[in-house]
């Protein structure tokens, strides 16, 4: 890796690959790399399981604890609000409560070593805007995170104007280590797939309101007619209507276009049952 410019702090020393037996002492069990994950349920749990399955020690907390305490397959997942020493990387997964997100990001920046990157969901607020909250702007990178999309072998990553190559390289290595390739896109609200998916769900909500077809038939139509793996209603249930509502509201506010106006039915369902 090239030496970075003087003005840009380094993050290249983050030992993301430490879980792999690449050292000379290959027989020794490596110490798991410690990461901290916080934000909204079920994304926190889903990411914790994924990271733990790939050898990480995941310390997790939520903005609001889930109603039912989750049961994890791995004992490498530890529920605690304390960011442990030697945390190499932090993941912030809040799309709805942006005040809580700001608090989380600021706490990461104040607590973590300067070399630890912060990967933060950036579909309802850009990564660039998030980086203005902290001093260590260089270490924050945006990622597209919605429930269910976490299991996919690809993730959208949005660097900010402050992200040096080193931060991106560490981000790439981290995602590769949990089985994901990255696609670097511009740092915009909704990024790529969340923007498309939420608009499809919104259009389905308008169609239900207009009584064009039943919700079940809409799912059938999209799966059989245009080869979607899930119908928009099924997708909405898996992602959560509050998440969909948050993305659409952020797009509407950001782009000021009528096309992102939330269907009244979707809004009502999001605020009453989520």
């Amino acid at each position: 890796m090239k030496t970075n410019k003087k003005t840009t702090p380094k993050v290249s020393k983050v030992n993301i690959k430490a879980t792999k037996t690449t050292s000379r002492n290959a027989n020794l069990k490596p110490t798991p790399v410690r990461i901290f994950i916080t934000g909204e349920s079920p994304m926190v749990e889903q990411y914790a399981e994924l990271c733990a399955a790939h050898g990480y020690e995941a310390h997790i907390s939520w903005n609001e604890k889930p109603a039912q305490k989750p049961e994890f397959k791995s004992d490498s997942i530890k529920i605690s609000n304390i960011i442990p020493a030697n945390t190499s990387l932090a993941i912030e997964l809040t799309n709805i409560d942006l005040l809580a997100k700001k608090k989380n990001i600021k706490r990461f920046d104040e607590t973590l070593a300067d070399t630890a990157p912060i990967l933060s969901s950036s579909i309802t607020i850009t990564a660039t805007e998030q980086s203005t909250w902290i001093l260590g702007k260089h270490r924050l990178v945006g990622i597209a995170v919605l429930p269910t999309l976490i299991q996919k072998p690809l993730i959208e990553v949005a660097p900010t104007i402050y992200s040096p190559k080193e931060t991106l390289e560490v981000t790439k290595r981290f995602f590769q280590s949990i089985g994901k390739e990255i696609e670097i896109v511009q740092d915009r609200i909704g990024m790529v797939l969340p923007r498309m998916l939420c608009r499809i769900i919104n259009e389905a909500a308008f169609a239900i309101t207009e009584d064009v077809a039943s919700p079940q038939d809409i799912d059938t139509a999209l799966k059989l007619g245009v080869n979607f793996p899930l119908g928009p209603i099924e997708w909405a249930e898996q992602i959560g209507l509050k998440q969909v509502y948050a993305v659409l509201t952020a797009l509407h506010t950001d782009l000021q276009e009528e096309r992102y106006r939330v269907a009244p039915l979707l809004k009502q369902m999001a605020i009453t049952r989520g």
Partner: protein, 288 residues
């Protein structure tokens, strides 16, 4: 159940419906404006059925029996004795209205008349007929052999008996019918439209390029074909015409406004696979 099915128009969809019907042992009266078109369509149906024989899906005897169920016609009044007629002509409201006016005047009042339109209003198509209650939409999807969905469109004046009979017919063909209201784009095309609309906007705003957007849609979204690949496949001119039609029929609904990129691609003559260039370049692939 219907004994005689009339089909108006021998494009890909008309031929496909005829083929499905004869394989379901329904007699078909196939109409087009001249014998050349009709001959070409029976040759195509025959060839398609023979392919099915080679794949072990049907027997040689079924090919012969199926072909014997087809009668070709060049005069619309010759479809007068049909119980059910499906119009599958060009997506032009004037052409369709004219056909339905003729069918309305020359068929028994109990016959069901349906349009395979993918985007035009059934209520509008049936507006000037004597019996609009027997007019509905029956929207098959391309490729018709493998696409299971059929949207059965209820116009403002379509009665339930018409819808029930069409549903029974669609089930007989082995397809899955869903009932939809007569609104622009019906349901599958309308709800999937943001996939294409947002893809074009993301491209226009330089959020990602065509390869990236298609890759993300396929890998993260799990949709088998990316939006740009799909538009290149169906033809960018067709995609533009469909988007424009949806927008106009919705009286300018902002959510359905086509992106200028589509128009510019059409004006550049980059229409997708058929011109070797669309959002992707196919020249090298074809040269191989």
């Amino acid at each position: 159940m219907f004994k005689q099915l009339g089909i108006v128009g021998t494009g890909t969809m008309g031929i496909g419906i005829a083929q499905l019907a004869v394989l379901s042992k329904i007699d078909v009266q196939l109409y087009d404006v001249n014998d050349t078109l009709l001959r070409r369509s029976t040759v195509r149906i025959n060839a398609n059925l023979r392919k099915m024989v080679n794949l072990g899906k049907i027997s040689q005897e079924e090919v012969q029996a199926s072909m014997e169920r087809i009668r070709t016609r060049t005069s619309l009044p010759d479809l007068g004795h049909c119980d059910f007629i499906i119009e599958s002509a060009n997506e032009d409201i004037r052409v369709k209205k004219d056909i339905f006016k003729h069918l309305d005047a020359n068929t028994k009042s109990t016959a069901i008349l349906a349009s395979n339109t993918s985007s035009l209003s059934i209520t509008s198509i049936g507006a000037h007929t004597r019996n609009p209650e027997r007019i509905a939409g029956v929207h098959f999807f391309n490729p018709i052999e493998t696409s299971v969905l059929v949207e059965v469109v209820k116009g403002y004046k379509t009665n339930n008996e018409t819808i029930e009979k069409i549903i029974a017919f669609v089930n007989l063909l082995g397809k899955t019918p869903i009932i939809v209201k007569d609104t622009p784009g019906f349901i599958a095309n309308r709800v999937s439209q943001p996939l294409f609309g947002e893809a074009l906007r993301l491209l226009g705003e330089n959020v990602a390029d065509v390869e990236q957007i298609d890759h993300i849609v396929k890998i993260i979204g799990g949709i088998p074909a990316g939006p740009f690949e799909s538009m290149d496949q169906i033809g960018i001119d067709t995609a533009f015409a469909e988007a424009q039609s949806l927008f106009e029929q919705s009286n300018g609904e902002p959510r359905l406004r086509p992106h200028p990129i589509l128009k510019q691609m059409v004006e550049s003559g980059w229409l997708g696979k058929k011109t070797n260039k669309g959002f992707f370049n196919y020249e090298e692939t074809n040269a191989k």
